[in-house]
Protein backbone atom coordinates (compact mmCIF):
# COMPACT_ATOMS: atom_id res chain seq x y z
CA UNK A 1 0.00 0.00 0.00
CA UNK A 2 1.06 3.54 -0.65
CA UNK A 3 1.46 5.69 2.44
CA UNK A 4 -1.34 8.04 1.44
CA UNK A 5 -3.10 10.17 4.03
CA UNK A 6 -5.42 12.07 1.76
CA UNK A 7 -6.54 11.64 -1.82
CA UNK A 8 -8.58 14.36 -3.49
CA UNK A 9 -9.88 13.98 -7.00
CA UNK A 10 -10.01 17.21 -8.99
CA UNK A 11 -12.88 17.56 -11.46
CA UNK A 12 -11.43 20.56 -13.28
CA UNK A 13 -8.37 22.81 -13.40
CA UNK A 14 -10.07 25.36 -11.14
CA UNK A 15 -11.04 22.63 -8.70
CA UNK A 16 -7.44 21.39 -8.61
CA UNK A 17 -6.19 24.91 -7.88
CA UNK A 18 -8.76 25.33 -5.08
CA UNK A 19 -7.81 21.96 -3.55
CA UNK A 20 -4.10 22.85 -3.68
CA UNK A 21 -4.76 26.14 -1.88
CA UNK A 22 -6.99 24.51 0.76
CA UNK A 23 -4.38 21.80 1.38
CA UNK A 24 -0.99 23.48 1.46
CA UNK A 25 0.87 20.18 1.94
CA UNK A 26 -0.80 18.47 -1.03
CA UNK A 27 0.94 17.70 -4.34
CA UNK A 28 -0.50 17.03 -7.76
CA UNK A 29 -0.48 13.54 -9.23
CA UNK A 30 -0.96 13.05 -12.99
CA UNK A 31 0.41 9.75 -14.35
CA UNK A 32 2.01 8.97 -11.00
CA UNK A 33 5.12 7.37 -12.52
CA UNK A 34 7.29 9.65 -10.38
CA UNK A 35 4.96 10.36 -7.45
CA UNK A 36 4.01 6.73 -6.80
CA UNK A 37 7.64 5.60 -7.02
CA UNK A 38 8.59 8.22 -4.43
CA UNK A 39 5.70 7.12 -2.21
CA UNK A 40 6.73 3.49 -2.62
CA UNK A 41 10.27 4.37 -1.59
CA UNK A 42 8.97 6.16 1.50
CA UNK A 43 9.99 9.65 0.40
CA UNK A 44 8.19 12.23 2.57
CA UNK A 45 6.03 15.03 1.17
CA UNK A 46 3.73 13.02 -1.07
CA UNK A 47 1.12 11.71 1.37
CA UNK A 48 -1.56 14.20 0.34
CA UNK A 49 -2.46 14.18 -3.32
CA UNK A 50 -4.65 16.25 -5.58
CA UNK A 51 -5.45 13.88 -8.42
CA UNK A 52 -5.52 15.22 -11.99
CA UNK A 53 -5.09 11.76 -13.54
CA UNK A 54 -6.86 11.68 -16.94
CA UNK A 55 -8.47 15.08 -16.41
CA UNK A 56 -10.00 15.77 -19.85
CA UNK A 57 -9.36 19.51 -19.63
CA UNK A 58 -5.59 18.86 -19.74
CA UNK A 59 -5.71 16.23 -22.47
CA UNK A 60 -5.43 17.82 -25.92
CA UNK A 61 -3.06 18.30 -28.83
CA UNK A 62 -4.20 20.98 -31.24
CA UNK A 63 -3.21 23.77 -33.58
CA UNK A 64 -4.92 27.09 -32.95
CA UNK A 65 -5.90 29.67 -35.58
CA UNK A 66 -2.41 31.28 -35.30
CA UNK A 67 -0.79 27.88 -35.98
CA UNK A 68 0.53 27.59 -32.44
CA UNK A 69 0.85 23.95 -31.45
CA UNK A 70 -0.76 23.42 -28.04
CA UNK A 71 -0.09 20.33 -25.97
CA UNK A 72 -2.01 19.80 -22.73
CA UNK A 73 0.10 18.97 -19.69
CA UNK A 74 -1.94 15.80 -19.12
CA UNK A 75 -1.14 14.26 -22.51
CA UNK A 76 0.58 10.88 -22.18
CA UNK A 77 3.66 10.05 -24.25
CA UNK A 78 1.91 7.37 -26.32
CA UNK A 79 -0.61 9.97 -27.51
CA UNK A 80 2.21 12.36 -28.48
CA UNK A 81 3.87 9.62 -30.55
CA UNK A 82 0.58 8.88 -32.30
CA UNK A 83 -0.47 12.49 -32.88
CA UNK A 84 -0.63 13.51 -36.56
CA UNK A 85 0.05 17.14 -35.63
CA UNK A 86 3.24 16.27 -33.74
CA UNK A 87 4.42 13.74 -36.36
CA UNK A 88 3.97 16.29 -39.11
CA UNK A 89 5.35 19.44 -37.48
CA UNK A 90 7.72 18.44 -34.69
CA UNK A 91 8.75 14.81 -35.27
CA UNK A 92 11.78 15.31 -33.02
CA UNK A 93 9.40 15.39 -30.06
CA UNK A 94 8.19 11.92 -31.13
CA UNK A 95 11.85 10.75 -31.19
CA UNK A 96 12.36 12.14 -27.71
CA UNK A 97 9.31 10.71 -25.98
CA UNK A 98 9.67 7.40 -27.81
CA UNK A 99 12.91 6.97 -25.86
CA UNK A 100 11.14 7.16 -22.50
CA UNK A 101 10.64 4.00 -20.40
CA UNK A 102 8.70 1.16 -22.01
CA UNK A 103 5.15 0.99 -23.38
CA UNK A 104 3.54 0.71 -19.94
CA UNK A 105 5.27 3.90 -18.78
CA UNK A 106 4.57 5.81 -22.01
CA UNK A 107 0.89 4.83 -21.77
CA UNK A 108 0.51 6.59 -18.45
CA UNK A 109 3.29 9.14 -17.93
CA UNK A 110 2.48 12.73 -18.91
CA UNK A 111 4.57 15.45 -20.52
CA UNK A 112 3.52 17.81 -17.73
CA UNK A 113 4.78 15.48 -15.01
CA UNK A 114 8.03 14.98 -16.90
CA UNK A 115 8.86 18.69 -16.76
CA UNK A 116 7.40 19.56 -13.34
CA UNK A 117 9.92 17.25 -11.67
CA UNK A 118 12.61 19.72 -12.66
CA UNK A 119 15.16 16.99 -13.37
CA UNK A 120 17.89 17.43 -15.96
CA UNK A 121 17.27 13.94 -17.36
CA UNK A 122 13.64 14.60 -18.36
CA UNK A 123 13.74 13.32 -21.93
CA UNK A 124 11.11 15.68 -23.34
CA UNK A 125 12.86 18.76 -21.93
CA UNK A 126 15.82 19.27 -24.28
CA UNK A 127 13.50 19.14 -27.30
CA UNK A 128 11.15 21.66 -25.68
CA UNK A 129 14.20 23.89 -25.06
CA UNK A 130 15.21 23.64 -28.72
CA UNK A 131 11.66 24.55 -29.75
CA UNK A 132 11.49 27.56 -27.39
CA UNK A 133 8.33 26.09 -25.89
CA UNK A 134 6.29 28.39 -23.67
CA UNK A 135 4.51 26.98 -20.63
CA UNK A 136 1.11 28.22 -19.57
CA UNK A 137 0.62 28.15 -15.83
CA UNK A 138 -2.69 28.78 -14.10
CA UNK A 139 -3.28 29.88 -10.53
CA UNK A 140 -6.34 31.22 -8.73
CA UNK A 141 -7.58 33.85 -11.18
CA UNK A 142 -4.17 34.12 -12.86
CA UNK A 143 -2.59 32.83 -16.06
CA UNK A 144 1.06 33.35 -16.90
CA UNK A 145 3.32 32.27 -19.73
CA UNK A 146 6.86 31.15 -18.97
CA UNK A 147 9.55 30.15 -21.51
CA UNK A 148 10.70 26.62 -20.73
CA UNK A 149 14.26 27.85 -20.16
CA UNK A 150 13.02 30.09 -17.31
CA UNK A 151 10.79 27.37 -15.87
CA UNK A 152 13.73 25.26 -14.71
CA UNK A 153 15.19 27.04 -11.67
CA UNK A 154 17.59 24.39 -10.37
CA UNK A 155 17.80 20.65 -9.74
CA UNK A 156 14.28 19.54 -8.75
CA UNK A 157 13.09 23.15 -8.71
CA UNK A 158 10.67 24.67 -11.20
CA UNK A 159 8.82 27.97 -11.37
CA UNK A 160 5.52 26.84 -9.86
CA UNK A 161 4.05 28.71 -6.91
CA UNK A 162 1.57 27.43 -4.33
CA UNK A 163 -1.72 26.59 -5.94
CA UNK A 164 -0.38 26.73 -9.49
CA UNK A 165 -0.77 24.12 -12.17
CA UNK A 166 0.95 23.73 -15.51
CA UNK A 167 -1.74 23.48 -18.17
CA UNK A 168 -0.24 23.84 -21.65
CA UNK A 169 2.96 23.68 -23.70
CA UNK A 170 2.83 26.15 -26.58
CA UNK A 171 5.13 26.03 -29.61
CA UNK A 172 4.74 29.04 -31.88
CA UNK A 173 4.99 28.70 -35.69
CA UNK A 174 8.19 30.77 -35.90
CA UNK A 175 9.81 28.08 -33.77
CA UNK A 176 8.86 25.06 -35.86
CA UNK A 177 7.92 26.10 -39.39
CA UNK A 178 10.86 25.48 -41.71
CA UNK A 179 12.87 23.79 -38.94
CA UNK A 180 14.25 20.27 -38.96
CA UNK A 181 15.25 18.54 -35.79
CA UNK A 182 16.71 15.44 -34.29
CA UNK A 183 16.86 14.00 -30.77
CA UNK A 184 19.57 11.61 -29.67
CA UNK A 185 19.56 9.79 -26.34
CA UNK A 186 22.59 8.01 -25.04
CA UNK A 187 21.89 5.55 -22.21
CA UNK A 188 23.59 2.44 -20.93
CA UNK A 189 20.68 0.30 -22.09
CA UNK A 190 18.66 0.70 -25.28
CA UNK A 191 15.39 0.89 -23.39
CA UNK A 192 14.05 1.55 -19.91
CA UNK A 193 17.00 3.64 -18.89
CA UNK A 194 17.64 7.18 -17.75
CA UNK A 195 19.69 9.19 -20.24
CA UNK A 196 23.43 9.51 -19.68
CA UNK A 197 23.10 12.43 -22.11
CA UNK A 198 20.18 13.60 -24.25
CA UNK A 199 20.75 15.97 -27.18
CA UNK A 200 18.22 17.86 -29.29
CA UNK A 201 19.12 19.86 -32.40
CA UNK A 202 16.73 22.03 -34.37
CA UNK A 203 17.87 23.97 -37.41
CA UNK A 204 16.88 25.77 -40.56
CA UNK A 205 18.91 26.02 -43.76
CA UNK A 206 18.72 28.07 -46.94
CA UNK A 207 20.97 27.44 -49.93
CA UNK A 208 23.29 25.33 -47.73
CA UNK A 209 23.66 28.14 -45.19
CA UNK A 210 22.50 27.48 -41.65
CA UNK A 211 19.98 30.22 -40.96
CA UNK A 212 19.18 29.16 -37.43
CA UNK A 213 20.69 26.57 -35.15
CA UNK A 214 19.65 25.42 -31.69
CA UNK A 215 21.26 22.72 -29.63
CA UNK A 216 19.97 21.64 -26.21
CA UNK A 217 21.07 18.98 -23.74
CA UNK A 218 19.76 16.99 -20.84
CA UNK A 219 22.21 15.83 -18.12
CA UNK A 220 24.94 18.18 -19.40
CA UNK A 221 24.38 20.42 -16.40
CA UNK A 222 22.13 20.72 -13.32
CA UNK A 223 19.09 21.47 -15.50
CA UNK A 224 18.37 21.01 -19.22
CA UNK A 225 20.19 23.70 -21.20
CA UNK A 226 20.76 25.42 -24.52
CA UNK A 227 24.28 26.14 -25.78
CA UNK A 228 24.38 29.82 -26.78
CA UNK A 229 28.08 30.08 -27.67
CA UNK A 230 27.95 27.15 -30.06
CA UNK A 231 24.67 28.31 -31.55
CA UNK A 232 26.07 31.76 -32.28
CA UNK A 233 29.17 30.31 -33.91
CA UNK A 234 27.12 28.14 -36.28
CA UNK A 235 24.46 30.57 -37.49
CA UNK A 236 25.13 31.87 -41.05
CA UNK A 237 27.82 29.27 -41.67
CA UNK A 238 27.93 27.00 -44.70
CA UNK A 239 27.04 23.35 -44.16
CA UNK A 240 30.20 21.25 -44.12
CA UNK A 241 31.74 18.28 -42.43
CA UNK A 242 34.39 20.42 -40.76
CA UNK A 243 31.63 22.51 -39.20
CA UNK A 244 30.47 19.40 -37.36
CA UNK A 245 33.95 18.99 -35.88
CA UNK A 246 34.00 22.62 -34.92
CA UNK A 247 30.64 22.27 -33.16
CA UNK A 248 31.96 19.38 -31.12
CA UNK A 249 34.89 21.56 -29.99
CA UNK A 250 32.90 24.70 -29.12
CA UNK A 251 30.27 22.73 -27.26
CA UNK A 252 32.74 22.07 -24.43
CA UNK A 253 32.59 25.73 -23.46
CA UNK A 254 28.81 25.66 -23.07
CA UNK A 255 28.20 22.62 -20.89
CA UNK A 256 29.03 21.60 -17.33
CA UNK A 257 28.52 17.85 -16.88
CA UNK A 258 29.10 16.19 -13.53
CA UNK A 259 30.24 12.86 -12.28
CA UNK A 260 27.52 10.60 -10.90
CA UNK A 261 27.30 6.86 -10.33
CA UNK A 262 26.01 6.54 -13.88
CA UNK A 263 28.98 8.13 -15.61
CA UNK A 264 32.02 10.28 -14.99
CA UNK A 265 32.32 13.87 -16.06
CA UNK A 266 34.94 13.04 -18.73
CA UNK A 267 32.86 10.27 -20.20
CA UNK A 268 29.81 12.52 -20.33
CA UNK A 269 31.88 15.20 -22.09
CA UNK A 270 32.89 12.70 -24.75
CA UNK A 271 29.27 11.74 -25.29
CA UNK A 272 28.20 15.39 -25.39
CA UNK A 273 30.75 16.10 -28.14
CA UNK A 274 29.89 13.03 -30.16
CA UNK A 275 26.13 13.60 -29.92
CA UNK A 276 26.50 17.22 -31.04
CA UNK A 277 27.92 15.91 -34.31
CA UNK A 278 25.48 13.06 -34.76
CA UNK A 279 22.33 15.02 -33.91
CA UNK A 280 23.39 17.96 -36.07
CA UNK A 281 24.19 15.65 -38.98
CA UNK A 282 20.83 13.88 -38.73
CA UNK A 283 18.98 17.20 -38.52
CA UNK A 284 20.87 18.43 -41.60
CA UNK A 285 19.98 15.26 -43.49
CA UNK A 286 16.34 15.77 -42.59
CA UNK A 287 16.66 19.31 -43.92
CA UNK A 288 17.80 17.83 -47.23
CA UNK A 289 21.45 18.82 -46.85
CA UNK A 290 24.41 16.59 -47.58
CA UNK A 291 27.16 16.10 -45.03
Amino acid sequence: MFDLKKHMKANSIDHAIALLLENPDARLIAGGTDVLIKLRNGKPGFSELVDIHSLEELNFIQQDEKNNILIGSGVVFTDIIQSDIIKKHIPMLCDAVQSIGGPQIRNIATIGGNNCNGVTSADSASTLFALNAVLEIRGKGTTRQVPVSDFYLGPGKVDLKKGEILTTFKITPENYQGYFGYFYKYAMRNAMDIATIGCAVSLKTKKHIIEDYRIAYGVAGPVPMRCPKTEKSVINRKVSKSLLDEISQTIETDVSPRTSWRATKDFRMNIIKELSKRATKEALLRAGEEV
Binding site: M1, G32, R40, D51, T78, Q104
Partner: protein, 160 residues
Protein backbone atom coordinates in the same frame (compact mmCIF):
# COMPACT_ATOMS: atom_id res chain seq x y z
CA UNK B 1 -11.33 10.04 7.61
CA UNK B 2 -11.93 6.61 6.19
CA UNK B 3 -9.60 5.49 3.48
CA UNK B 4 -12.24 3.22 1.93
CA UNK B 5 -13.97 4.13 -1.31
CA UNK B 6 -16.53 2.42 -3.51
CA UNK B 7 -15.48 1.65 -7.05
CA UNK B 8 -17.25 -0.14 -9.87
CA UNK B 9 -15.40 -1.73 -12.73
CA UNK B 10 -15.53 -4.66 -15.05
CA UNK B 11 -12.97 -7.37 -14.53
CA UNK B 12 -12.53 -9.79 -17.40
CA UNK B 13 -16.01 -8.93 -18.58
CA UNK B 14 -17.74 -9.23 -15.19
CA UNK B 15 -19.01 -6.09 -13.44
CA UNK B 16 -17.92 -5.70 -9.82
CA UNK B 17 -18.50 -3.11 -7.13
CA UNK B 18 -16.00 -3.09 -4.29
CA UNK B 19 -15.12 -1.11 -1.21
CA UNK B 20 -11.40 -0.70 -1.51
CA UNK B 21 -8.70 1.02 0.44
CA UNK B 22 -7.72 4.04 -1.67
CA UNK B 23 -4.08 3.50 -0.66
CA UNK B 24 -3.94 0.29 -2.68
CA UNK B 25 -2.53 -0.17 -6.14
CA UNK B 26 -4.67 -1.91 -8.73
CA UNK B 27 -2.31 -4.89 -8.39
CA UNK B 28 -3.06 -5.13 -4.66
CA UNK B 29 -6.80 -5.01 -5.27
CA UNK B 30 -6.55 -7.69 -7.96
CA UNK B 31 -4.46 -10.00 -5.80
CA UNK B 32 -5.81 -9.32 -2.31
CA UNK B 33 -9.44 -8.26 -2.79
CA UNK B 34 -10.30 -10.32 -5.85
CA UNK B 35 -7.95 -13.29 -5.44
CA UNK B 36 -6.67 -12.85 -8.99
CA UNK B 37 -3.03 -13.74 -8.47
CA UNK B 38 -2.04 -14.04 -12.13
CA UNK B 39 -0.49 -10.58 -12.26
CA UNK B 40 2.67 -10.66 -10.16
CA UNK B 41 4.55 -8.15 -8.10
CA UNK B 42 8.16 -8.16 -9.17
CA UNK B 43 9.76 -4.78 -8.60
CA UNK B 44 6.76 -2.72 -7.51
CA UNK B 45 8.17 0.36 -9.23
CA UNK B 46 7.34 0.07 -12.92
CA UNK B 47 10.55 -1.58 -14.08
CA UNK B 48 9.70 -5.22 -14.74
CA UNK B 49 6.17 -5.47 -16.18
CA UNK B 50 5.24 -8.61 -14.19
CA UNK B 51 2.11 -6.77 -13.02
CA UNK B 52 0.97 -5.73 -16.53
CA UNK B 53 -2.79 -5.64 -17.16
CA UNK B 54 -5.02 -3.89 -19.68
CA UNK B 55 -7.15 -0.96 -18.51
CA UNK B 56 -9.65 -0.03 -21.24
CA UNK B 57 -7.32 -1.93 -23.60
CA UNK B 58 -4.29 0.16 -22.55
CA UNK B 59 -1.29 -1.75 -21.16
CA UNK B 60 -0.30 -0.50 -17.70
CA UNK B 61 1.88 -1.58 -14.80
CA UNK B 62 -0.80 -2.24 -12.16
CA UNK B 63 1.74 -1.84 -9.32
CA UNK B 64 1.97 1.90 -10.01
CA UNK B 65 -1.67 2.40 -10.95
CA UNK B 66 -3.94 3.57 -8.14
CA UNK B 67 -6.87 1.18 -7.76
CA UNK B 68 -9.31 4.10 -7.58
CA UNK B 69 -8.30 5.05 -11.12
CA UNK B 70 -9.94 1.80 -12.24
CA UNK B 71 -13.39 3.17 -11.36
CA UNK B 72 -15.73 2.71 -14.36
CA UNK B 73 -12.99 1.01 -16.40
CA UNK B 74 -12.68 -2.39 -18.04
CA UNK B 75 -9.80 -4.41 -16.67
CA UNK B 76 -8.33 -7.44 -18.44
CA UNK B 77 -5.96 -9.80 -16.65
CA UNK B 78 -4.41 -13.11 -17.61
CA UNK B 79 -7.26 -14.96 -15.87
CA UNK B 80 -9.74 -13.80 -18.52
CA UNK B 81 -7.69 -14.64 -21.59
CA UNK B 82 -8.60 -18.31 -22.05
CA UNK B 83 -12.21 -18.66 -23.23
CA UNK B 84 -14.23 -21.83 -22.53
CA UNK B 85 -11.11 -23.74 -21.61
CA UNK B 86 -9.32 -22.72 -24.80
CA UNK B 87 -6.13 -20.70 -24.57
CA UNK B 88 -5.94 -17.38 -26.41
CA UNK B 89 -3.82 -17.27 -29.53
CA UNK B 90 -1.04 -15.50 -27.64
CA UNK B 91 -1.12 -17.96 -24.75
CA UNK B 92 -1.01 -20.89 -27.17
CA UNK B 93 1.97 -19.36 -28.98
CA UNK B 94 3.89 -19.05 -25.69
CA UNK B 95 3.17 -22.72 -24.93
CA UNK B 96 4.08 -23.89 -28.44
CA UNK B 97 7.35 -21.97 -28.49
CA UNK B 98 8.42 -23.00 -25.00
CA UNK B 99 8.53 -19.34 -23.98
CA UNK B 100 7.72 -20.16 -20.35
CA UNK B 101 10.22 -21.34 -17.77
CA UNK B 102 9.51 -20.38 -14.15
CA UNK B 103 6.45 -18.49 -15.40
CA UNK B 104 6.73 -15.49 -13.09
CA UNK B 105 6.98 -13.00 -15.94
CA UNK B 106 4.55 -14.82 -18.23
CA UNK B 107 1.18 -13.26 -17.27
CA UNK B 108 2.66 -9.79 -17.74
CA UNK B 109 4.39 -10.72 -20.99
CA UNK B 110 1.19 -12.25 -22.39
CA UNK B 111 -0.77 -9.07 -21.65
CA UNK B 112 2.00 -7.02 -23.33
CA UNK B 113 1.94 -9.28 -26.39
CA UNK B 114 -1.86 -9.21 -26.44
CA UNK B 115 -1.83 -5.43 -26.41
CA UNK B 116 0.86 -5.36 -29.13
CA UNK B 117 -0.78 -7.87 -31.47
CA UNK B 118 -4.16 -6.12 -31.22
CA UNK B 119 -2.50 -3.05 -32.70
CA UNK B 120 -0.60 -4.75 -35.51
CA UNK B 121 -2.60 -7.67 -36.91
CA UNK B 122 -1.40 -8.64 -40.37
CA UNK B 123 1.26 -5.93 -40.63
CA UNK B 124 4.87 -6.69 -41.26
CA UNK B 125 6.66 -6.44 -37.94
CA UNK B 126 10.41 -6.28 -37.41
CA UNK B 127 12.24 -7.96 -34.55
CA UNK B 128 13.25 -4.51 -33.37
CA UNK B 129 9.59 -3.49 -33.07
CA UNK B 130 8.84 -6.62 -31.07
CA UNK B 131 11.73 -5.87 -28.73
CA UNK B 132 10.67 -2.25 -28.28
CA UNK B 133 7.05 -3.17 -27.62
CA UNK B 134 8.18 -5.57 -24.88
CA UNK B 135 10.91 -3.37 -23.40
CA UNK B 136 8.81 -2.84 -20.27
CA UNK B 137 8.85 -6.57 -19.42
CA UNK B 138 11.77 -8.44 -17.89
CA UNK B 139 12.38 -12.19 -17.90
CA UNK B 140 15.14 -13.74 -15.83
CA UNK B 141 14.89 -17.24 -17.29
CA UNK B 142 14.32 -17.58 -21.00
CA UNK B 143 16.89 -15.26 -22.51
CA UNK B 144 13.99 -13.83 -24.55
CA UNK B 145 14.64 -15.85 -27.73
CA UNK B 146 11.60 -18.08 -27.36
CA UNK B 147 9.48 -15.15 -26.24
CA UNK B 148 10.40 -13.38 -29.48
CA UNK B 149 9.34 -16.46 -31.41
CA UNK B 150 6.09 -16.65 -29.47
CA UNK B 151 5.30 -13.02 -30.25
CA UNK B 152 6.02 -13.62 -33.92
CA UNK B 153 3.78 -16.65 -33.88
CA UNK B 154 1.01 -14.64 -32.21
CA UNK B 155 1.12 -12.21 -35.11
CA UNK B 156 1.42 -14.84 -37.84
CA UNK B 157 -0.14 -17.99 -36.37
CA UNK B 158 0.17 -19.95 -39.63
CA UNK B 159 3.90 -19.39 -40.09
CA UNK B 160 5.98 -22.28 -38.90
Amino acid sequence: MTTFREITFSINGRPRTLYIDMRKSLLEVLRQDLGLTGAKQGCGVGECGACSVLVDEVLVDSCIYLAIWADNKNIRTIEGEAKNGKLSRVQQAYVDEGAVQCGFCTPGFIMATTSFTQKCTGEKITEDEIRKSHAGNLCRCTGYQNILKAVEKSIHPDKE
